[in-house]
Amino acid sequence: MENTVVEGVAKRLGDHVNTDVIIPATYLVSTDYCELGKHFLEGLDETSRSKFKPGDIVVAGKNFGSGSSREHAALAIKGAGISCVIASSFARIFFRNAINVGLPICESPVAVKSIMEGDSLRIDLSRGTIENITGNVSFPIPPYPDFLLGIIDAGGLINLLLEQK
């Protein structure tokens, strides 16, 4: 994986943050992630979305990325410069999309429970830890199955297929 260690400030979101909220459908006429990133969370209320800065880490509740299959949601998150998404759980299509486009994501209900808004986090994807620097506590990330690690290590599904050609 390109960035095995990610550091950033935690910005919290609630449960069921769906892909319509992450990137409203009206912007789906672009495939450019920088363009999509400009509209990241535009479907959410103004105060929640204006708090995000490049490098931040999204810390969300359960069922993150539910709804539409639009991969534009994972791209918009990347385009906004978000370095990682931690959630209690992910919707399945979003999970695949994030892996496929190389957006670091980790599932950890315990970490989500303890992380506070504004905490400094360090996530080591190869060691499998979420470290809350502010709270001085670490959480293990359940390891990805080998099958998915293959895709992640290659840098996404397309790269894996290119390697296999």
């Binding site: 459908a25 209320d45 069922n63 299959s69 639009r70 496929n100």
Partner: protein, 417 residues
């Protein structure tokens, strides 16, 4: 016994598979639309490979068509050029296009036991016809267009045992809304939702399509119905052979069972802004509605239009309310014309839209302003789904939508006739 796993096991060519296994399977049909195909085609281009099978790729321009603006026109042009260059047999554009999940079954493209993967979350619709079908994102679709294969994590399954018979004005939409209300929007995440029970034979195939369509609103990977006399009759009228149906069990059983007696079900309404905020129509707040939409891949079929018209025929839409009726495909449109349904809706004061996703995703043809409220037969009522983030969407069946268009507020059809 999980039928979904039986299909996956057969296609994977394995003696046995168990929940949690990662398997690679060949896919029978790969679908994408004007939102997901452009990104998929870009990723596909990086692979420098040809398409795996031009007969097994389906491209439908349905979301922002007829094109809303220059950007959407260019996206469609990009897909059109790809379809032409690669001689994609099932390319639906212009007067041949309809809402993909209404269109594909009608075109005879779906048969039991198939694996269908679409770049659209509502690809799960085809489980109504006994196919294993599910949504994925554009990169997965790109890989599929090149290789014809994808990976799955073999799902656990939840069995929904349906008994009884719907009362008048209650249908598939109410069943699935009730179920989502009961288990929540992530109640079936990563699971197959498999419908069985004596009540299934009382549910028409179009209503099954409505039910399977919304299993993703409970987070499910796919939904599955048994193939019975109704399925076989429905498919044979479309010229589709149902083939041999695998009935053999797998040994892992169901992870959960939900019993549902549909005889007591009433029309349901999902309040903003989650499809699980479900209450019975009698308890629904009497909000003033600005728009009612009858259409979409959930309820844009001929039976839905007939049901709505039965409530509303000969009457007049409430003053100040916009009723938008969207036949889901050219075939539905033509049938509605032949039956006089279109004429009747015009008399009632409805706007008739061409087959398109349009307002369902806040794309065009009925976008909401700040503060506006819509009641809709579509499948999602998320914040801003149909337009401004301060607009609201309520979900219901076609009969409730029609009754409410008459009164201007959420209304039980039983109050009208």
């Amino acid at each position: 016994m999980s039928g979904s796993r039986v299909i996956l096991r057969e296609k994977a060519g394995r003696k046995s598979i168990k929940p949690g296994d990662f398997i690679e399977v060949p896919v029978d049909l790969v679908l994408a639309n004007d939102v997901t195909a452009p990104l998929a085609i870009e990723e596909f281009g990086k692979l420098n490979m040809g398409v795996f099978n031009k007969e097994k790729i389906v491209l439908v321009l349905d979301h922002f068509t007829p094109n809303r603006d220059v950007a959407s026109a260019e996206q469609c042009l990009f897909v059109r050029e790809f379809a032409n260059e690669n001689e994609i047999s099932h390319f639906y554009d212009g007067g041949n296009a309809g809402i993909e999940h209404v269109l594909l079954p009608e075109e005879g493209l779906i048969s039991p036991g198939m694996i269908v993967v679409g770049g659209d979350s509502h690809t799960c619709t085809y489980g109504a016809l006994g196919a294993f079908s599910t949504g994925m994102g554009s990169t997965d679709i790109a890989a599929l267009m090149a290789t014809g294969k994808t990976w799955f994590r073999v799902p656990e399954a939840i069995n929904v045992v349906v008994n009884g018979k719907f009362r008048k004005w209650v249908g598939g939409k109410d069943l699935i809304l009730y179920l989502i209300g009961k288990i929540g929007v992530d109640g079936a995440t990563y699971y197959s939702l498999e419908f069985t029970g004596n009540g299934i034979e009382n549910i028409d195939v179009e209503a099954r399509l409505t039910i399977a369509n919304m299993v993703v609103e409970a987070g499910a990977k796919n939904g599955l119905f048994p193939v019975d006399k109704k399925t076989i009759a429905y498919l044979s009228q479309l010229g589709v052979d149902s083939g041999e149906i695998a009935v053999e069990a797998d040994e892992y059983g169901y992870s959960g069972v939900i019993e549902l007696d549909i005889s007591n079900l009433t029309p349901m309404v999902a309040l903003p802004s989650l499809p699980s905020n479900v209450i019975s129509v009698e308890e629904a707040p009497r909000v003033k509605l600005d728009q009612v939409v009858i259409g979409s891949c959930t309820n844009g079929r001929i039976s839905d239009l007939r049901e709505a018209l039965e409530v509303i025929s000969g009457m007049r839409v409430s003053k100040g309310l916009r009723l938008i009726v969207i036949p889901g495909s050219p075939r539905v449109y033509r049938q509605a014309l032949n039956e006089g349904i279109i004429e009747n809706f015009l008399e009632v004061g409805a706007v008739i839209s061409p087959p398109t996703c349009g307002p369902c995703l806040g794309g065009h043809m009925g976008v909401l302003a700040a503060g506006e409220k819509a009641l809709s037969t579509t499948n999602r009522n998320f914040v801003g789904r149909m337009g401004h983030i301060e607009s609201e969407v309520y979900l219901c069946n076609p009969a409730v939508a029609a009754a409410s268009a008459l009164t201007g507020t959420i209304t039980d059809p039983a109050e009208i006739i």
